[in-house]
């Protein structure tokens, strides 16, 4: 077991005997395999164990944190998915014109900047100088739905920036491909109005790859959440894992990482199912 848990909790000045007693009472002096079997056999029954630091069951911490993170991720996605797709469409309809260059280059440069850098700049602009938005995502007790969203706009912005570039780029290249396809030319030649061609023929085909990209960004989002939640002091799964890692609180760390793994797998599965619903050509399990 890396690091001494008793030492991490009691501090460097504590007596070695006190550290040993604490390690014994937490069961940390047992062999690793015994500890692991103990943990995993309880975990599958829904018992995530007891936190070393908080001396309380882990499950409520993880569930609360996951709920908070999902709220933040949802605010970010609600902002970025429509705007990213719209940006990609506008860029594709104006290929190589200035507006396309601005969207493509702007999206690309926003994607490569670390979240805490853009986060700090947003905090300075909107939180400190303009004073429009709160700089920490800690809302007052019993805050309503809209107040919570108000507190989450600033933390969602750095995530928005990173995701915007990816989604806009996919939507743009999908659109360009679909605009160039034979069925689009046929639709135009048979006299359909441009609006109908775009809505009925181009968009439906163009946006399919974008959906996959949105789903694969869940993995990125989890890494991004660790940073953003720390920066904005938000009690989400990312900051929970971060605090647990620093304090060597293994039950919370293990439960948190496993929860993230489950969320990631579910998100990927949902994306695959959604993709086959939207794209009849690859619908699985049906005989031709």
């Amino acid at each position: 077991m890396p690091g001494n848990v008793g030492r991490a909790i009691l501090g460097p000045l504590a007596d070695q005997r006190a550290v040993d007693v604490l390690n014994h009472s937490l069961g940390l002096d047992r062999p690793l395999l015994v500890q692991y079997w103990d943990w995993i056999s309880h975990f599958v029954q829904g018992d995530m164990g007891t936190s070393y630091i908080f001396r309380a069951p882990v499950a409520p911490f993880v569930i609360d944190a996951l709920g908070n993170s999902m709220k933040l991720a949802l605010v970010a996605f609600v902002m970025v998915v429509p705007l990213g797709i719209l940006g990609g469409i506008i860029a594709a309809l104006n290929v190589n014109r200035p507006i396309d260059r601005i969207i493509s280059l702007g999206g690309l440069s926003a994607t490569v900047l670390p979240e805490f850098v853009t986060g700090i700049i947003f905090i300075l602009i909107f939180g400190v100088w303009l004073n429009w938005l709160p700089i920490a995502a800690v809302w007052p007790e019993g805050a309503g739905f809209f107040t919570q969203i108000y507190y989450l706009i600033l933390p969602a912005l750095p995530l928005f920036l990173v995701l915007f570039g990816y989604i806009a780029r996919m939507a743009r290249s999908g659109m360009i491909e679909a605009l160039d396809a034979d069925y689009t030319r046929t639709a135009v030649l048979k006299g359909l109005p441009w609006r109908t061609v775009i809505w009925r023929h181009v968009l439906r085909n163009a946006l399919l790859p974008t959906i996959t990209v949105i789903a694969t960004q869940t993995g990125y989002l989890i890494g991004g959440l660790v940073v953003v939640e720390t920066l904005f002091r938000y009690q989400g799964i990312g900051s929970l894992i971060f605090t647990a890692a620093r304090g060597k609180d293994f039950p919370i760390l293990e439960a948190g990482i496993l929860t993230i793994g489950i969320v990631y797998s579910v998100a990927t599965l949902v994306a695959d199912l959604l993709y086959s619903v939207l794209n009849p050509r690859i619908r699985l399990g049906t005989d031709q």
């Binding site: 690091g3 300075l124 890494g223 990631y264």
Partner: protein, 293 residues
């Protein structure tokens, strides 16, 4: 006028004699984004190497009486909570990130190229097993891997280099593998095999020189992401440790006071990271454009 008429037919001939390396260099020197990125990158490299000789103050010298002073003629970027000159710290702050990120990228390139050559050359079972393991690695976000590695191995610069290097290796391996898959069907590989060259010789002496361009592109792109990752990890308190004037570290130790309006303690570090990341990505963009022509 006749001079022009004589000179023009010579140009194609001169082009034909140029080596591929010269061609790439010429194309790079004409790329605006590459040159802009190169200037930014060189500026920070010079700061990292010689910064301490031209900073107005010692970047590590405390001066508590003059703590948290706003930007002025004496301290262009103000002072931080220990009274250290922010301008001097920003200038020298490029040193750690410009050591750790390139080393991590180098490790990723060496490991990734080796894995890519093996999986692409042997295919079959070797490829299947290694590729599935690499895919599993790629599914985990770097920040999470780093978090776990730091719990297990402790905080140090070498941990960060290893974590980022090994997290990026699968991505480079995938690029190299697909390049090797098309190279190994070419006649020169068959000739080497007929000469009974060993597999190692064929991979590293015959194939490797021919897959250098995609490796070079992937390496410059990865360097951008490595700087992203190193900055993020030092902001999280992993890797680079105080009192280093590292940018990410400075932001993490000063942003707690941002509500008090001490914007100069974080803004310049943030802009420095942003400029370095964008500079490296412009270089990567230029390299990609020059090599894909």
């Amino acid at each position: 006028m006749t001079a022009i008429d004589v000179k023009q037919p010579e140009l194609p001939a001169a082009n034909a004699n140029r080596s591929p390396v010269t061609e790439v260099l010429i194309s790079l020197s004409r790329s605006g984004s590459f040159l802009t990125g190169l200037v930014i990158l060189l500026f920070w490299i010079v700061c990292a190497l010689f910064g301490e000789h031209f900073t107005p103050y010692d970047p590590l010298a405390d001066d508590i009486i003059n703590a948290l002073m706003p930007p002025s003629a004496d301290n262009w970027f103000g002072t931080d909570q220990l009274g250290r000159d922010v301008f001097s710290r920003v200038i020298v702050g490029s040193r750690d990130i410009l050591t750790v990120a390139p080393l991590a990228t180098l490790l990723a390139t060496v490991a990734g190229t080796t894995l890519g050559l093996f999986t692409g050359y042997f295919r079959g079972l070797v490829d299947d097993i290694i590729s599935r393991i690499l895919e599993a690695f790629m599914a985990i976000p770097v920040v999470i891997v780093a978090l776990l590695a730091i719990v297990a191995l402790g905080t140090s610069k070498s941990t960060v280099i290893i974590v980022i290097g090994l997290s990026f290796a699968p991505i480079i391996a995938r690029t190299v593998r697909s390049a090797v898959l098309s190279e190994r069907e070419l006649d020169y590989v068959a000739a080497a095999q007929l000469r009974r060259e060993s597999a190692l010789h064929t991979m590293f002496v015959e194939i490797l020189p021919n897959v250098i361009p995609p490796i070079l592109v992937e390496t410059t792109v990865r360097l951008g992401y490595a700087i992203f990752a190193v900055a993020t990890l030092s902001f999280m308190g992993f890797g680079i440790q105080p009192p280093s004037p590292d940018w990410g570290l400075s932001i993490s130790s000063n942003y707690g006071m941002i509500g008090g309006g001490f914007w100069w303690t974080v803004l310049f570090d943030a802009l420095a990271i942003a400029s370095l990341v964008i500079g490296v990505n412009l270089v990567a963009d230029g390299v990609q454009g020059a090599l894909n022509d």
